[in-house]
């Protein structure tokens, strides 16, 4: 099992975190904190000596600024494939090269556990037909699972038709949904584990909060 980097989330997922050789999709609207889960996932991997790769359509400087903003040390950083600030560029118009670069970076680290975090799913879905993206991600995930790799992907809610996200969710071993809910007069950020391979269905909703000391997840209603 691979720690999520958030102890309370590890506890929810059976005390161990994400399953080995799995792919996890986190779906939520912009700004809700999906990326923070990814940052902690990568941070946890760096501490444990895993090879970590962050593939992003954003500049590296933006990610580092965000990491610092949520109290994550940037002394150790992952390898980057990004739009700017990294030796390997992430060109959203060339999905094949992104896939090739990710697989090559992973294959170079065959003897280590690998963690891949990425936010390119949504832009690629916007720029390409669903059918081609379905086979693209299907192939990429299958290739990565041949090694000891856990892939953590983010998808933007509100940017795709619902059937598009539902279709893509089928490819992943785990799906976590993050959203804001009206709770009387208050607005509450909650997430739910829609599915996670190896775990019985988790019907509950969990409240999460992000501070400079970390991320906290507690069952909603307690």
């Amino acid at each position: 099992m691979v720690s999520t980097g958030v102890p309370s989330l590890d506890h929810i997922l059976g005390d161990d975190g994400y399953p080995d050789r799995s792919s996890v999709l986190v779906v939520g609207p912009p700004g809700i904190g999906k990326e923070v889960l990814g940052y902690w996932f990568v941070r946890s991997g760096l501490i444990q000596g895993d090879y970590c790769l962050y593939t992003t359509h954003r500049p590296v400087s933006d990610i580092l600024r965000d990491m610092k903003g949520v109290g994550i040390s940037t002394e150790r950083v992952p390898e980057w494939i990004s739009s700017s600030g990294s030796p390997i560029k992430c060109d959203l118009k060339d999905a094949t090269s992104i896939s090739f670069n990710v697989k090559e970076a992973v294959h170079k680290n065959m003897n280590r556990r690998v963690r891949v975090a990425t936010d390119i799913l949504s832009p690629l879905l916007v720029l390409n037909p669903l059918e081609s993206m379905y086979s693209y991600w299907s192939q990429l995930l299958a290739d990565l699972k041949r090694q000891d790799t856990v892939l953590f992907a983010l998808a933007e809610d509100g940017m795709h038709p619902q059937n598009t996200l539902t279709t893509m969710e089928q490819l992943f071993d785990g799906v976590i949904e993050m959203k804001l809910y009206e709770d009387g007069l208050a607005i509450t950020p909650l997430f739910r584990v829609k599915k996670m391979v190896g775990l019985p269905p988790l019907h509950g909703y969990f409240r999460f909060s992000v501070s400079s000391t970390g991320m906290e997840v507690v069952p909603h209603g307690r």
Partner: protein
């Protein structure tokens, strides 16, 4: 008696729209509290500040409504001149963030900062003009900026020119940025802001033709524009992030008893 009814109607409209804006302001603060992304958090916080300044301008400018007039119409304009570009800046930045190619919208990254500085300078200029004008600040306000000294109307004219430029350039940047993003929430947010602007234009213009025919009636009707403006500002705030609604399932409780509708 008819005039009394009109005043009551106007006062009710202002109070009703104020309640909407206060609630929208509360919602914006809530969004700012729960959102994690710094750009989105900042947009929500600036929305709350902008709403507060909008209400301030509304109450400040409603000279015909008893007990609400503070006889200082410029104060509201000063506040909104500073908060408007900052609010637009935060909204454009959020829209740019959701554009996967991170394109600069009408050179906003540089010009947005320039225009904010100009707006702040224009406020300082108009304060200086008001204070140093012959007869002092109070006389300048009473004469609506008219003065025998040429630099008084020029200074105050420049202030309103900056406000107009900020509004037009900011709106254009926001529309272009929203068209470039795939995020439906941001597009809806901009649409709602546009509709609230329609309400504001209604308020500013509708009284002109009607008041010629029926004095006082146009003024009262124009306050409907306030309600339209406030309503759509509230809708804009509710578009800061999509919301789900929770319901408890029968026979269940706590963490496992929730269903999304």
């Amino acid at each position: 008696m008819a005039v009394d009814y009109l005043i009551i109607f106007s006062a009710s409209a202002v109070l009703f729209s104020s309640v909407i804006v206060v609630f929208a302001c509360y919602r914006a603060i809530e969004f700012g509290h729960v959102l994690v992304g710094s750009i989105y958090k900042r947009r929500a916080n600036w929305a709350a500040i902008f709403l507060a300044s909008t209400m301030f301008l509304t109450l400040d400018g409603t000279g015909s409504v008893p007990y609400l007039s503070w006889d200082n119409a410029y104060l509201g304009f000063w506040v909104i001149t500073v908060t408007l570009p900052l609010f637009i800046n935060s909204s454009v930045r959020a829209a740019q963030e959701t554009d996967f190619f991170h394109r600069d919208t009408l050179h906003w990254r540089i010009l947005g900062r320039v225009i904010t500085v100009i707006a702040i300078c224009s406020v300082i200029l108009s304060v200086v003009v008001g204070i140093t004008a012959p007869g002092g600040f109070a006389a300048t306000l009473e004469n609506s900026g008219a003065s025998s000294s040429w630099w008084v109307p020029v200074g105050l004219g420049l202030f309103f020119l900056v406000l107009i430029v900020v509004s037009i350039y900011g709106s254009a940047s926001l529309i272009v940025a929203a068209r470039r993003t795939q995020d439906r929430a941001i597009r809806r947010f901009v649409l709602m802001l546009g509709l609230s602007l329609v309400g504001l234009v209604f308020f500013l213009t509708v009284w002109l033709p009607i008041d010629d025919v029926a004095p006082g009636v146009g003024d009262a009707i124009s306050y409907l524009g306030f309600i339209i403006e406030a309503y759509y500002l509230y809708k804009a705030v509710m578009s800061l992030s999509p919301l789900g609604k929770m319901e408890k399932l029968e026979g269940t409780s706590g963490a496992a008893g929730l269903q999304v509708t």
